[in-house]
């Protein structure tokens, strides 16, 4: 988020510096399952997702981008209805999604369950290697001449703005808070209270092995992402909740939800039965009560901006970051933003 906003701001003539509490993309951007799926995106966010997707496609090999196509599956009548309704709306919003018969899915992906009741396909769905995000962003920022200070967690902000990060002070006319799961605390430094909660999403990976699946797999409820990398590792996610909070440091995998995540994966793709799980981890994802982004001016503070809580932020970040930068540049953003002031009265 912050990196692409900085790039757009610099492109517009501003001098930008990025302050990162740990290392670039050490947060959600670097630890997620890498899913770049339109199928899973919220209807209203679809135009943003499509633009973000194009950015990843252009990044290509540098981030290990693969457009595999993706199936979203339903295993009973209730899920089938949910799937049809939702996918119709997403298709209307511009995503290339179509319903396909279970037989057609099984013909193309024999590794899938034979209990599929309904399915949709999106040709645009794909993934990237999230662990490569940091290096890629670092290269882009360096190329654009944007200064980056890492291991620089912000502990004080004076209006004007003077930002203290560890033992250094940075001065700037404008400030953009794009601190991911730590946004609530950073906004509080400017006296702004925001109703941000943080999810602890679980991802698991299996060891390399035979490739049996070429498409990304999702579930009608949105609670599964499953893909197989080129070396045969399966990456399994879907937002199953671990424990912990950003203030406590790293999150912790909760065994009960981990097993449920794996059970759902196993049900959808029987072929993963004897893959061995080699690692599970968690990443933080911030959200506000309506699960739409906070993207716009920081309420009550002049020349301060906010970009956080974007569901599907990995895909959408490269679209919405530049939009907020355009707001900062005094340009009408190409797509509407999401005014954080809608929560100004709350919290």
């Amino acid at each position: 988020m912050g990196a692409t906003a900085a790039l757009r701001a610099a492109q517009g003539g501003m001098r930008a510096i990025v302050l990162e509490r740990e290392s670039l993309a050490a947060g959600a951007s670097g630890v997620n399952a890498g899913t770049l799926s339109l199928s899973i995106k919220r209807v209203r966010l679809m135009p943003y997702a499509m633009r973000g997707h194009a950015w990843w496609r252009a990044a290509g090999d540098a981030v290990g981008f693969k457009q595999t196509g993706g199936y979203t599956l339903a295993f009973n009548a209730r899920e089938a209805q949910l799937l049809e309704e939702r996918m119709a709306m997403k298709a209307e919003a511009g995503a290339p999604i179509e319903m396909v018969s279970p037989a057609a899915v099984r013909a193309r992906e024999p590794a899938l369950s034979d209990r599929i009741v309904a399915a949709s396909f999106c040709a645009a769905d794909g993934h990237a290697d999230s662990t490569r995000t940091g290096a890629y962003l670092r290269a882009l920022l360096r190329e654009a001449g944007i200064e980056v200070a890492e291991h620089a967690a912000v502990d004080a902000i004076e209006p004007g703005f003077r930002v203290r990060a560890r033992d250094k002070t940075f001065a700037g006319k404008r400030i953009l808070i794009a601190a991911g799961a730590w946004t609530r605390g950073v906004a509080a430094l400017l006296g702004v209270a925001l109703p941000i909660d943080v999810n602890v999403n679980t991802v698991s990976v299996t060891e390399a092995g035979p490739v049996r699946l070429s498409s990304g797999i999702g579930h009608a409820t949105g609670l599964l992402t499953l893909k197989q990398k080129g070396n045969g590792s399966y990456l399994i996610g879907g937002g199953w909740q671990g424990r912990g909070s950003p203030e406590q440091g790293r999150g912790e995998v909760a065994t009960d939800t981990l097993l449920q995540n794996l059970q759902l994966a196993r049900y959808a793709v029987p072929a993963i039965a004897h893959a061995r799980v080699i690692r599970s981890w968690t990443g933080f994802e911030a959200h506000v009560p309506d699960y739409y982004p906070l993207a716009g001016a920081l309420p009550g503070v002049a020349d301060a901006y906010l970009l956080a809580c974007v569901r599907g932020g990995y895909t959408i970040g490269p679209c919405i970051g530049p939009l907020v930068a355009e707001l900062m540049l005094g340009i009408e953003p190409a797509l509407p933003l999401f005014d954080p002031a809608r929560f100004a009265a709350a919290a």
């Binding site: 290392s23 050490a26 670097g30 899973i40 919220r42 209807v43 295993f75 009973n76 949910l82 939702r86 709306m89 662990t131 940091g134 290096a135 670092r138 890492e150 299996t206 060891e207 390399a208 092995g209 035979p210 579930h219 009608a220 409820t221 949105g222 609670l223 080129g230 070396n231 045969g232 590792s233 937002g239 790293r250 912790e252 995998v253 909760a254 065994t255 981990l258 097993l259 449920q260 794996l262 059970q263 759902l264 994966a265 196993r266 049900y267 029987p270 072929a271 993963i272 039965a273 004897h274 893959a275 061995r276 799980v277 080699i278 690692r279 599970s280 981890w281 699960y291 569901r311």
Partner: protein, 566 residues
């Protein structure tokens, strides 16, 4: 068996049976590890497409279920072959079956205890015995089929060499300690004032719940990468001791033994006694290194005498002993390996055993979130315990080598103290009774540890540089040059290096490469070793079959009724 058989003669073993390896019939003894049986049959490695993130496939490297290089498809499941016991008719394959094997996962079993002891080596087994004696309901958990840990390891059906290990196993049996052997612990978590130990055994998933935990996870071997350390025919020094002591098998007929620490002499003399030839011992330490530890070693004149006797055995056998030398390259294929030693010497061997001492195994304690410290004299990173063997997480205790490589004599003493501490925590022992019981044990523990820690000071990594194109992370195929570039590009901690390069993200979980990678970061940045940090503890502690984890479940019972927001 022919006279060229690497199996040590005159040892009682299980019945001769046959199993197949990619269709080839192999004769072996029931109970030996599949990896050892393949080794004895001349198998050193197998080919097949090696993908990124997949370590080299070798019949043996660590011999303790850590490196994942010996993993094979055994009766349809992927298992470390060094941990699988040979059975008649077993089907072992290098490639996965075309169709997914039929599964009938069991429902998970949950059990409640006062204390779970992780690890059945001398520390853990003794802790369990003491806990039981104090009236606690204890359960002893280990991946192996019997108690003894690595130091007193036995294979099913193969006669052990008697002594302490057999006595320990007999005591555990006689006391009726509840045992979960052949059980792989894959996660530990704290939920509602209880420790939950999640494990898999041959029947499926288990959850052991307890108020207290005693971690006795022992040690792991330190490696120093050299060119060819990933080649067939090269195994760890600890692996060689396991092969010799538990499988009762020679690593080769013409063996180079290299590295540092007490295992050098132990492996070399065991090979000589079993009729093999040690081509040379290559010790990275100077001759004076042991002498410098004399004050510490003096507390155990019996062990010193034993060490000197081993030295004499070697000298009588004419084994060349090189000090201050390291292996720089192994080339060729078994049985004709060319082993290059620093200083220009080239040796010929059919097997190379190399390792640089033991380090505390901290994966379980890192997962639990206990504090760790880096103490070179204790073998590196170790979990921090107080004088009562208590960690800084609620009701967690640790004993044995995972708290610092203090050796097999100190281990049972720290195990007993940990159990007494747990008993006090759980209200079975008042403070006065605890102090009375623990005081003499602590004195003995500290005395025994002086010897053990003295030995550890000799078992260190060499200062020798790693060549640019030498593999450091075998799983991900990362050379020293690649890691150095990432460090130069800004990685200052092990976690950052991991994120940037995937170093340590392979199936072995960084166990082979983490120490070397961390040393590289510290050396290149000129920072202290503990500034580089450890890798974050994450489950599973070892690779686990997804089906076994998922177990039997009802799809309609999954909590997916509320979909994500549209």
């Amino acid at each position: 068996m022919t006279s060229a058989d690497l199996r040590i003669a005159g040892v009682a073993r299980g019945a001769l049976v046959r199993f197949t390896f990619d269709g080839r019939e192999i004769e072996a003894h029931e109970g030996e590890s599949v990896a050892a049986a393949l080794w004895a049959a001349g198998v050193r490695a197998w080919s097949g497409e090696r993908k990124p993130g997949q370590p080299p496939s070798r019949a043996l490297f660590c011999a303790m279920g850590v490196c994942q290089q010996c993993a094979l498809w055994i009766d349809g499941r992927r298992v470390e072959s060094c941990r699988a016991a040979v059975r008649a008719g077993m089907e072992v394959r290098t490639a996965p079956p075309a169709a997914t094997a039929a599964t009938s996962p069991a429902a998970p079993r949950a059990d409640e205890f006062d204390v779970v002891v992780l690890g059945a080596g001398p520390a853990g087994a003794t802790a369990a015995l003491e806990a039981q004696a104090q009236g606690l309901r204890a359960v002893l958990v280990d991946e192996a089929a019997a108690a003894g840990g690595q130091v007193f390891r036995v294979a099913p059906g193969i006669a052990g060499d008697g002594g302490e290990g057999d006595a320990l196993r007999a005591a555990v049996g006689a006391a009726g300690i509840e045992r979960c052997f052949d059980t792989r612990v894959w996660s530990v978590e704290r939920v509602d004032e209880r420790w939950l130990v999640h494990a898999l055994d041959p029947h499926g998933a288990r959850c052991l719940r307890a108020r207290a935990l005693i971690v006795a996870s022992g040690a792991t071997e330190r490696h120093h990468p050299f060119a060819g350390w990933d080649r067939p025919g090269v195994i760890g020094l600890a692996a060689a001791t396991i092969l010799l002591k538990a499988q009762r098998m020679l690593p080769g007929r013409e063996v180079v033994v290299a590295g540092s620490g007490p295992l050098l002499l132990l492996v070399a003399k065991s090979i000589v006694e079993a009729g093999g030839r040690v081509v040379a011992v290559v010790d990275s330490q100077p001759r004076a290194a042991w002498l410098a530890q004399v004050p510490a070693l003096a507390s155990r004149p019996d062990l010193v005498a034993r060490g000197l006797a081993w030295r004499r055995t070697m000298m009588r056998a004419g084994v060349p002993y090189h000090f201050s030398r390291t292996l720089t390259r192994v080339a060729g294929e078994p049985p004709s390996l060319a082993v290059e030693v620093s200083g220009g010497l080239i040796l010929r061997a059919d097997a190379v055993c190399c390792g640089y001492g033991l380090m505390p195994a901290t994966d379980a304690t890192r997962l639990i979130g206990a504090s760790h410290a880096y103490t070179p004299e204790r073998g590196g990173w170790h979990v921090v315990v107080d004088d009562d063997q208590r960690c800084d997480r609620d009701h967690v205790f640790a004993a044995g080598d995972c708290t610092g490589i203090a050796g097999a004599a100190a281990a049972p003493l720290s195990g007993r103290i940990a159990a007494l501490s747990a008993a006090r925590d759980l209200g079975r022992l008042d403070d006065a009774a605890f102090r009375r019981a623990a005081a003499p044990l602590k004195r003995q523990r500290d005395r025994a540890a002086r010897f053990g820690l003295g030995v550890t000071r000799v078992a260190v990594a060499p200062a020798a540089a790693i060549a640019a194109d030498t593999l450091v992370c075998q799983c991900e195929g990362l050379t020293r040059a690649t890691l150095a570039a990432a460090i130069d590009g800004g990685c200052a901690t092990l976690n950052e290096l991991k994120t940037a390069t995937r170093c340590g993200m392979g199936p072995c979980g960084g166990r082979l490469c983490e120490d070397a990678a961390a040393r590289l970061v510290a050396a290149r940045l000129g920072v202290a070793r503990d500034a580089v940090g450890q890798a974050t503890g994450r489950p599973p502690l070892r690779p686990v079959d997804l089906d076994a984890l998922a177990g039997a479940f009802d799809y309609e019972a999954l909590p997916i009724a509320a979909p994500s927001p549209l």
